[in-house]
């Protein structure tokens, strides 16, 4: 059933007509040209599609667009414009985190949602927040170091 949906995406108002069942992932990638949320499984099992919806980590592969009316959505494209996102991106570069990079945008979003809720997580909380995200390249160590580095840099920057 085609419906008109309005929501906020990376701070901008979006309004589009789409079949309400269409998962957000396909809308982001094919209608809006935003490629950070990636297809990995389509089944909530890998986290490659992770986005933030109303401050929570959500799988774009199974979130129907109809459920987004009025929501605030952030994708990895929006990270550079946010202090926490920018700190994460810088820390991932400095720690050489990631091998192929396919999992990174989803992992960055999981970390972003965590740091927005808890700016000083310990390693166990970071691991718990990222545990729904798979990485096949074995880049876990660098990724964990990068999130910790972002936590430290944000703590330093805070007054």
């Amino acid at each position: 059933m085609t419906a008109s949906v309005c929501f906020h995406l990376n701070g901008l108002a979006v309004s589009l007509d789409a079949d309400g069942d269409t998962p957000l992932l396909f809308v982001l990638r094919n209608r809006l040209g935003l490629k950070a949320a990636r297809f990995g499984c389509g089944n909530e099992e890998c986290g490659a599609c992770l986005v933030e919806i109303d401050r929570r980590a959500r799988f774009a592969c199974t979130t129907p667009i109809a459920a987004l009316a009025g929501a605030q959505v952030t994708t990895a494209e929006g990270l550079p414009d946010h202090p926490i996102g920018a700190a994460l991106l810088a820390a991932f570069a400095q720690e050489h985190a990631g091998q192929c990079g396919y999992c990174l945008s989803g992992i960055l979003m999981a970390a972003f949602v965590l740091l927005r809720a808890n700016p000083t997580p310990d390693r166990a909380s970071i691991i718990a927040a990222l545990d729904g995200n798979l990485c096949r390249c074995g880049a876990h160590g660098g990724i964990l170091r990068a999130v910790e580095r972002a936590v430290a840099s944000l703590a330093e920057a805070a007054p």
Binding site: C46, G98, C100, Y102, L104, I127, R136, G142
Partner: protein, 698 residues
């Protein structure tokens, strides 16, 4: 001339201008036949060229590999990219620098010895001369063959090589884009292929009415047993594919599938069988692993367009030239009418579904002339329908003598094929080729030759000094497709050898470390072993506590690559938990140390995941379960702490690092589990079920 043989790539593609271009002011474009697989080669090769040309790294860009332009360097595999392509590029860049300086010398009327360069500016007696590379490039003969004549700068002068440079390609990949999956061609059709549930399955029936009713806008496009679903809308075709079994029926036709002929007898036999007479105690044991999936996080993807008699295919294949030849052959096109362009895929650990997806896209593109098409595999197909890592077993009969030395050693390896890349053995080796025409089913399969590092035979010869009898046989009876997965036979072979070494050490009443050193004269191997032992605080064979233990293993990858020793610490309760890994590596000269480290540690985590969790579920010679639910891999909460040390070897050549950890890590974990448990598990993966079986049996 140094008299050294030229890298093969330069024999195949001698012209300087094929490797280096200064056509764009201020930039240098370098070419390579090797492709980015997520291993960071784009950056490492740029570092090598920047070093030889004395340029800032930012000026150097690696061109995408395109069969219309790139030098043909075969497959990007076997951790050879930096060794092979790097060597060619280093010589080409050094020669380009010399040629540019020679032109500058003529222009300035000065002796070339007075000239130098800094980031593309030519210096005369150390001061700017007003000339730069790009102003001189037009006078260079770019057709000249690259020779080993220009003189390389000594390693001590390196400024860019040896630095841990961040990967430029990851900047975009972090926030979106950069992958083949992200390419949008105007007006493209979205395609999903309904794959045969087993090889040579016959497509019995497609209920087009049902498809049309349930999924308006999706149409079926068939060719013999190849079936594609096509739509303008990706979600529509995705949803239709997910329930394809509602409108597609397959049939088994007895006798239609025939196993390929296996190579006669053994494919490799090394050494002679030593006399077992002197043994005081012996073992006769069998180690095995199941089929392993590549399990990339991003499923295989390809795009294609057929226009004006020319087919262009975008792929994340490891070998664009071989793929081009096989696509042309399968579709009856002239090779010159096919162009294959590489684009980045998600992590590639060997011969995965990339090539298959490329042919899928090519078939559909040819059926829809003018229309760009994009194929994406489902998660389930990605874990099951591409070539898998081969199931293997290794039987070891060995013994120690009264002096506690290995006095007999025979190892018999049996393995499904590791070498079925496109074109190998003269066969297409592409999934949809078989579906379109059963004549493409391979009739014969060979292993990779020893010169290429071997396949099933890779690392079957132990690094130790004792006499060995090694036999390797290829078993082609299964219809499950297998091919090259990271480290090929080395994973199971090293697991078997290094497990057996621990079993023999126990018979000899020796510490596993001392026992290995007793049989080891290779100094670089001894060094990594000692280093790993030191890092881990290795304290002999005793268990470190209730259900907690360390294990150790070592190997030299392919017998000629990097040396790596691993110590693993595990706790064993209901499940095995890998707590820590210590890795000591000698990979020769490191081009990008951070890059090498993430390759090694990434490989180690993947090897741990294979060894602890992974087995493709097979019943009655058919794949029986699909998806991440039935094929778990190691998660953030399960990865160990890893400490890695590189042994510096001044003046040593760079050796690929990406596959060196697979075998030693598997064996170190196995040895640790055996000690923590007091019983040995010889079948990978080391799951709860296997442990219970071993404890019950032992």
């Amino acid at each position: 001339m140094t008299g050294r043989p030229l890298p093969k790539s330069l024999d195949d593609t001698p012209a300087l201008g094929r490797w280096i271009s200064l056509a764009e002011p201020g930039r240098v474009i370098i070419a390579s036949g090797k492709v980015e697989l997520g291993q960071g080669i784009t950056t490492a090769l740029a570092q090598i060229a920047a070093e030889a040309l004395e340029l800032r790294l930012a000026r150097v860009t690696l061109a995408e590999v395109d069969t219309d332009r790139a030098p043909n360097e075969g497959f990007t595999a076997g951790s050879q990219s930096v060794e092979v392509s790097g060597a060619a590029l280093r010589l080409a860049a050094a020669q380009a620098r010399a040629a540019l300086i020679a032109v500058a010398a003529v222009r300035l009327g000065a002796d070339a010895a007075r000239l130098g360069c800094d980031d593309g500016a030519v210096l005369l007696d150390g001061a700017p001369s007003g000339l730069d590379f790009w102003g001189l490039a037009a006078d260079v003969d770019w057709g000249q063959p690259v020779a080993d004549a220009a003189g390389l700068r000594p390693a001590s002068a390196y400024r860019v090589v040896g630095q841990s440079v961040p990967r430029a390609d990851l900047v975009q990949k972090r926030i979106g884009g950069g992958f083949i999956h992200d390419i949008d061609l105007p007006g493209m059709a979205h395609v999903r292929v309904v794959r045969q549930p087993f090889r040579m399955a016959r497509l019995e029936r497609v209920d087009s009415d049902r498809l049309a009713r349930r999924h308006p806008g999706v149409r079926a496009l068939g060719k013999a047993d190849f079936l594609a679903l096509v739509s303008d809308d990706e979600y529509a075709v995705h949803a239709a594919h997910a329930e394809a079994d509602r409108f597609v029926r397959w049939q088994e036709v007895p006798g239609r599938w025939q196993p390929a002929k296996a190579p006669e007898g053994m494919v490799a036999a090394i050494g002679a069988e030593p006399a077992p007479a002197t043994c005081t105690s012996t073992i006769a044991v069998r180690y095995a692993r199941a089929h392993i999936a590549h399990a990339s996080i991003g499923p295989s993807c390809a795009l294609a367009q057929y226009e004006a008699g020319r087919l262009t295919v975008w792929t994340h294949s490891q070998g664009v030239f071989a793929l081009r030849a096989q696509i042309a052959r399968c579709l009856g096109l002239d090779v010159a009418a096919v162009r294959v362009v590489h684009a980045h895929g998600a992590g590639c650990y060997g011969h995965n579904g990339a090539d298959d997806a490329a042919l899928d896209a090519a078939i559909v593109a040819c059926a829809l002339p003018g229309r760009p098409v994009r194929v994406l595999w489902s998660r389930e197909d990605e874990l099951s329908r591409g070539p898998l890592g081969a199931a293997m077993s290794a039987e070891i009969s060995a013994g120690v003598d009264a002096a506690g030395r290995v006095a007999a050693w025979a190892m018999h390896v049996t393995s499904a094929p590791h070498a079925q890349r496109p074109g190998m053995g003269g066969y297409a080796n592409l999934s949809s080729a078989e579906a379109m025409d059963g004549a493409h089913l391979p009739r014969e399969v060979a292993d990779l030759p020893e010169a290429a590092g071997g396949g099933a035979s890779r690392n079957a010869r132990a690094i130790y000094d004792f006499a060995q009898e090694v036999r390797v046989a290829i078993d082609t009876r299964s219809r499950i497709r297998t091919s090259s997965l990271r480290s090929l036979g080395a994973h199971l072979n090293v697991f078997a050898i290094e497990s057996a070494m621990d079993e023999l050490a126990e018979l000899a009443g020796a510490d596993p470390l001392d026992f290995r050193l007793r049989h080891l004269s290779d100094p670089r191997c001894r060094r990594v072993l000692a280093e790993a032992a030191e890092m881990s605080g290795w304290a002999g064979a005793q268990a470190t506590g209730e259900g907690v233990a360390k294990g150790l293993a070592v190997a030299r990858y392919k017998g000629k690559g990097a040396w790596l020793a691993a110590v693993a610490e595990v706790t064993v309760e209901a499940d095995v938990r890998l707590q820590r890994l210590w890795l000591a590596v000698d990979a020769g000269l490191l081009i990008n140390p951070e890059g090498a480290r993430s390759q090694i540690e990434g490989g180690a985590i993947q090897a741990a995941s294979w060894s602890l969790k992974e087995a493709v579920s097979v019943e009655n010679d058919r794949i029986a379960a699909f998806g991440w639910g039935s094929y778990p891999i190691l998660r953030f909460s399960e990865v160990p702490e890893i400490e890695t040390r590189f042994i510096e070897s001044p003046g040593a050549a760079p050796l690929g690092a990406g596959e060196a950890a697979q075998g030693p890590v598997a064996a170190a974990i196995g040895n640790a589990v055996a000690r923590a448990l007091g019983a040995r598990v010889r079948d990978l993966p080391l799951t709860r079920a296997q442990i219970l079986r071993a404890v019950a049996g032992g």
